[in-house]
């Protein structure tokens, strides 16, 4: 095992153990593993855009039409 790496338990899905960089942000890695988006920024922007589109459509049908 390299000095800069640590071993983590990744469970059945990850087939036991994996090596990751010592300074890796494990919380961030864990969070990304639970999302379809590769970064939080992308996830947030997509959620924001889709919500605004939904709001606009709702406004059209309930108020402006």
């Amino acid at each position: 095992m390299s000095k800069d790496k640590i071993t983590i338990n990744t469970g059945d899905a990850g087939k036991g153990e994996s090596e990751i960089a010592k300074e890796a942000n494990t919380e961030e890695l864990e969070e990304r593993a639970l999302s379809v988006f590769s970064s939080e920024r992308n996830e947030d922007i997509t959620a924001l855009v889709l919500s605004l589109i939904t709001t606009f459509i709702v406004l059209i049908f309930t108020k402006w039409m």
């Binding site: 919380e27 639970l34 939080e40 997509t46 959620a47 605004l52 709001t55 709702v58 309930t62 108020k63």
Partner: protein
């Protein structure tokens, strides 16, 4: 052939949705829907079944004829589609069948228990969705085909949080008495900081502390759900917080009225205390009614304090987003905290809150889309039959036991055929609304007194007064629709998050969140008790 095999779950789920939509559209389910009080959603049930089922079949067909790739469509649509449909089927089952059945059972149990268990335990789609997710993960396990779809949960939950912003309005906060705003604001912020401090003392992860502080400080479940993605709380931390809040609330619901009576609190004081100290809206109302079911003031004041607390949510979201940004980095500048680390989706929440406050969705002074409109309108009037019943009661002097101001409100209702201010003051909207508000208060007091058996009212008179009050309560169609979207996003997100909670994760969280919740809850309840006794005398309403 092998690919068609992989698509089996998607074909089955889509087929089930389409079959359900066909059955629902043929009116076979109408008696059942009527019994479950879901008949109003029949059209939605049919459309959702056809649309989701259709999309599923289309996705399955595309998957069958082409090789899986790494395009955006593959990653975000085709791969997660089976999981998305599975969660949607579960959300539909919960919204249209499980939740109504739970409501019916708790209504039937009310005579035995004395309260509605689904309200007290908050057994709505939020809790039921989370429980369903947890149950699946810890029994059968997440089906392999659904794994990618479950990963969409947090993203969809964020969309729900953005939609949540449309339900509140700054104008409503400004309308409330400055007294309740200052009092509640102090306790909300105080509790948030107390929990953050306790988290530091007990060395708890900041994700857990952040989400618990919002839950204990603001309004329980919705605050927890809104703040969880802000502080990147794990699913089990969110579930823990909701569990802590609800169990603490149940204890408060029974303890508050007893302590209130022992301390000799007046109705206004108790209302202020319950609205400040208890976290869940339904539990606040239950405690207020348990303390005094006859004097409407208790419930009114408790509701006002409760609304004030809920309206602090946008402020708390901002505070915690800044706190979390600052905590997760080291020696960050103001720009880094506020601009770089600030969760972008919260901007959407704040944007919708601003749009709502400006009156884009509904008159600005609304709360969760509901507002009161005393203006003259034919649809706001009582029916001819109701008017005759009221007029007869006034003419024949059968309204015995009413206070002079209550009788005056009934007489005005007869004269104007609707709840309103004085006709002459209709140009001065503020005065007109104030007069209408006063009349509504008196009419509500009559109904409360009749319910508490302090006075006897004819059934038709009671019905007419009830209808007159109901008629001035309006609902914004836009906010209602946005709320429906939010409910579906939350239902989807919470089932998915529930699926990420394993038994191991729950045990790992330990009992500290519960300890922190109890310490902060008791501190808040005790401090607010003394402050209310000291400061609140009789009038807190503007």
């Amino acid at each position: 052939m092998a690919q068609a095999q992989d698509n089996k779950p998607l074909f089955i789920l889509s087929g089930l949705m389409i079959i359900y939509a066909l059955i629902a559209s043929s009116d076979v389910l109408h008696p059942l829907m009527k019994y479950l009080h879901t008949a109003k959603t029949a059209d939605l049930q049919v459309s959702m079944g056809f649309i989701c089922g259709g999309v599923g079949i289309l996705g399955a067909l595309i998957n069958s004829v082409r090789k899986p790739g790494t395009t955006i469509i593959d990653r975000f649509v085709l791969q997660p589609l089976p999981g998305i449909l599975l969660i949607l089927v579960m959300a539909m089952a919960i919204r249209w069948y499980v939740e109504p059945v739970v409501k019916l059972i708790s209504q039937n149990l009310q005579p035995v228990l004395g309260f509605k268990i689904y309200k007290v335990l908050n057994l709505n789609y939020v809790i039921l969705g989370l429980l369903a997710g947890v149950l699946i993960t810890n029994t059968y396990g997440i089906p392999k085909f659904a794994a990618a779809g479950v990963k969409c949960a947090r993203f969809v939950l964020k969309m729900g949080v953005i939609m949540l912003g449309a339900r509140y309005s700054f104008a409503e906060l400004a309308k409330l008495g400055s007294y309740s705003v200052v009092l509640v604001g102090t306790f909300v912020l105080g509790t948030v900081f107390l929990v953050l401090w306790l988290g530091k003392i007990f060395k708890q992860p900041k994700t857990m502390t952040g989400v618990l502080s919002a839950g204990m400080g603001v309004c329980g479940v919705s605050a927890t759900v809104a703040v969880a993605p802000v502080v990147k709380a794990k699913s089990e931390e969110m579930a823990y917080t909701i569990g802590t809040i609800l169990s603490f609330g149940i204890i408060c619901m029974f303890v508050f009225p007893t302590v209130g009576h022992m301390a000799g609190m007046n109705p206004v004081q108790f209302g202020a205390w319950a609205g400040t100290g208890i976290l869940n809206s339904a539990q606040v109302a239950a405690a207020a009614l348990a303390f005094n079911a006859v004097d409407i003031k208790t419930l009114k004041v408790a509701e006002i304090f409760n609304i004030t607390r809920v309206l602090f949510l946008p402020i708390i979201v901002l505070v915690l987003a800044t706190w979390f940004g600052k905590q997760s980095g080291q020696k960050l500048t103001f720009k880094e905290v506020v601009i770089d680390k600030f969760p972008i989706f919260i901007l959407g929440f704040l944007l919708l809150f601003a749009m709502s406050s400006m009156g884009l969705f509904s008159p600005p002074t609304h709360y969760k889309g509901k507002f009161i409109d005393y203006s003259y309108n034919e649809r706001t009037q009582v029916t001819e039959k109701e008017w005759e019943a009221l007029n007869g009661a006034v003419q024949n002097n059968t309204l015995q036991g009413l206070k002079p101001e209550q009788l005056a409100a009934v007489k005005d209702l007869v004269a104007q055929r609707q709840l309103a201010g004085n006709y002459e003051s209709r140009a001065d909207k503020k005065l007109f609304n104030k007069q209408g508000q006063e009349r509504m208060f008196q009419l509500e007091s009559i109904l409360a007194a009749a319910k508490g058996k302090v006075l006897t009212l004819d059934k038709s008179v009671k019905g007419a007064i009830h209808h007159a009050i109901k008629q001035v309560h309006k609902k914004s169609k836009t906010v209602t629709t946005l709320t429906d979207c939010m409910i579906w996003f939350f239902a989807f997100g919470l089932i998915g998050l529930g699926m990420q909670i394993t038994k191991k994760a729950i045990f790992q969280a330990g009992g500290w969140p519960l300890v922190m919740g109890i310490i902060s809850g008791i501190t808040k309840a005790t401090l607010s008790f003394f402050v209310v006794l000291w400061l609140v005398k009789d009038v807190v309403l503007k």
